[in-house]
Point group: C2
Chain length 369, copies 2
């Protein structure tokens, strides 16, 4: 194997593929990139068995061949090379030589037989979405997946295509986050649960341009995201997702409309008096034209009033402040509406056309606060 | 106590003073700021018994008084307040109320009797230096102080005033770093050893403006840096500093002149093949018009030639690459000169007028590399 390419192309490829290199593993081959140089194509692949990434880089192949090299070491070397043309070439004794200007590195490589190729995904069902939209709606929901794996289904997000609508749902035991987005075309109905780790890695790789698209391919066991010169293949989480519609009720007795930033900042201030481990509730005391934000902890007390427009009765309700903050942070609107029934039922934050729906369960509190 | 001041003034003062708040301590009072409001002056003080910082902030005192408050909690609260006027006021039950717009915090305070005031430094011997120069020369030497405290003297830097020259020296068991800088006036001879921690904290506080000065006061047990509205007082390390002049010899048999960035980049690339714990030497193979940079480790080998101008004989010499990199990084010149005798004697990197002198001991190596 021998090929030439620029440092910047190589570095871009290496950075993308390294997202599928596990930081800890007992299998040394998973710590490797597979590099294939055949005909006109130089391809870097990494595969941690859950997620696999393959990216093609521009360059000139002089001699066909493939190797597997330690991903971390190879990335470090490429990163530190001068900004010029790089030559990568197999030499004797299972070694590969990396040359750039006057710098010469020689490192060992492994045979690619051990390397697990990416699964083949049959390309018969797909949707197209802009990089911008995909990156955005993942970021606006992924915070509410569950981190521990006691319920595997909660560690992923449900992707659901229906006509020209893509609905993404994430939930843990205390909240639900939903985003709906319109696609440019109508597609066949389909649904799958994508692991949170895959989506996190994906948002780090896709640049998020408005005018660049991502193709998403759905198959029974895998989902594949294809964009520019890169493919990201991930296994999906098996099973039937939660029946979300049965959990959401849009009846309400109190509607509060507030400036999003004012409400967020006030809650943010209040939470500095507590540690997350404290589990102290944030009390919202909803009166005629304002909501009192109240917190009391070992360190002290905080008290603030935020102006609101209210429909319905007065209400005192308490939340885990982190959940309210997460939801408000994910909303771009200047004004938000909160819908509540009473202190025991969930609060729903949504816009008129339900492009977003955030449901948060309240917590118990002692009303004298 | 009651006073008013803007959030930004308060935040600035709090950020400066917090550098003297220890992150871990068994004495809760050390975790506090002392806040004094008397007449027209609002002062925030922190003191961890090694370094003490006092800073004056602008504001309006309505009622005289002093308190000690938990520094971390107080800083967090100030940071999160709206950008507006803040009112700080003692209320009943040893509590202090912090109000800004509609936000009201109430936290406990401690009596200032427990708080150790800063030591009085007699202001009879001082020098003036620009913030820019002081920050710069500290940064260009402090990397070579010793981190562990087996030899206390090596954990500080020696400040030495002689006529209009300030000389700063830092050393550990393998290297010496010296910077000389001209002062605008002539001063009496003086010398002291300043703890490295003090200097690190100081460089974080001084902004480094060319046209703002720092007054440095020397007393027998303390050094005080005074600038703008802030005083930093530190104990000094007692004892006689090393006789550096006896350790430095400027005789040489090989002089190498190289482009600093080329040399640095090449050594930097070579070091990615080794961990610091490896203790692998970097071999410099000095020939007529180039120096071969060579490293060999478990991961692979690296080999690069850097063009040089040479005076004297050929030489093969090896170093801990970190030490060479540290010195080169601290030099602003485009070209650097390295002076060597043989593979067993130190290498000296210095400019013509000795505004900087970096001495580095070589290490043993097996020449077949």
């Amino acid at each position: 194997m021998k090929f030439l390419c620029t440092k910047s192309n190589l570095l871009k490829g290496v950075s993308i593929a390294s997202k599928a290199v596990p930081s800890k593993t007992t299998m040394p081959i998973l710590e490797c990139f597979m590099i294939n140089a055949y005909g006109n194509t130089i391809k870097i692949t990494a595969n941690d068995m859950e997620i696999g990434i393959e990216t093609v880089i521009e360059g000139m192949v002089i001699e066909n061949g493939s190797i597997a090299v330690n991903a971390r070491l190879f990335s470090d070397i490429i990163r530190k090379l001068p900004d010029n043309e790089v030559c990568i070439q197999i030499i004797e004794n299972n070694q590969v030589k990396i040359t750039c200007e006057k710098a010469r590195f020689v490192i060992g490589y492994k045979n690619i037989q051990e390397f697990s190729a990416l699964p083949d995904v049959i390309k018969n069902q797909s949707i197209t979405i802009s990089q911008y939209s995909l990156k955005k709606i993942i970021g606006q929901t992924i915070f509410s997946i569950a981190e521990n794996e006691s319920n595997l289904m909660m560690t992923g997000e449900c992707f659901e295509v229906n006509g020209n609508n893509l609905k993404i749902t994430a939930l843990d035991s205390c909240r639900i986050s939903i985003r709906n987005i319109s696609l440019k075309e109508n597609y066949e109905k389909t649904k799958c649960i994508v692991p949170g780790k895959t989506l996190n890695d994906l948002t780090k790789i896709i640049e998020g341009d408005m005018d660049k698209d991502v193709e998403i391919y759905f198959s029974s066991n895998h989902i594949m995201f294809e964009f520019e010169d890169t493919k990201v293949v991930s296994r999906v989480i098996e099973g039937e997702f939660f029946k979300i519609d049965q959990m959401l009720s849009f009846d309400y007795q109190v509607k509060v409309r507030a400036n999003k930033n004012e409400l967020y900042d006030s809650i943010d201030r209040a939470t500095l008096l507590i540690n997350e481990s404290d589990k102290k509730p944030l009390v919202m005391d909803i009166k005629d034209d304002h909501v009192g934000i109240k917190i009391k902890s070992f360190s002290g007390t905080m008290n603030e009033e935020v102006e609101i427009l209210k429909e319905g009765k007065d209400l005192m309700i308490a939340f885990n402040p982190k959940f309210i903050k997460d939801a408000l942070r994910a909303i771009d609107d200047e004004e938000v509406s909160l819908y509540m029934v009473n202190a025991k039922n969930p609060c729903i934050i949504k816009d008129e056309n339900e492009s977003y729906i955030y449901m948060i369960l309240p917590v118990n509190f002692i009303p004298e606060v």
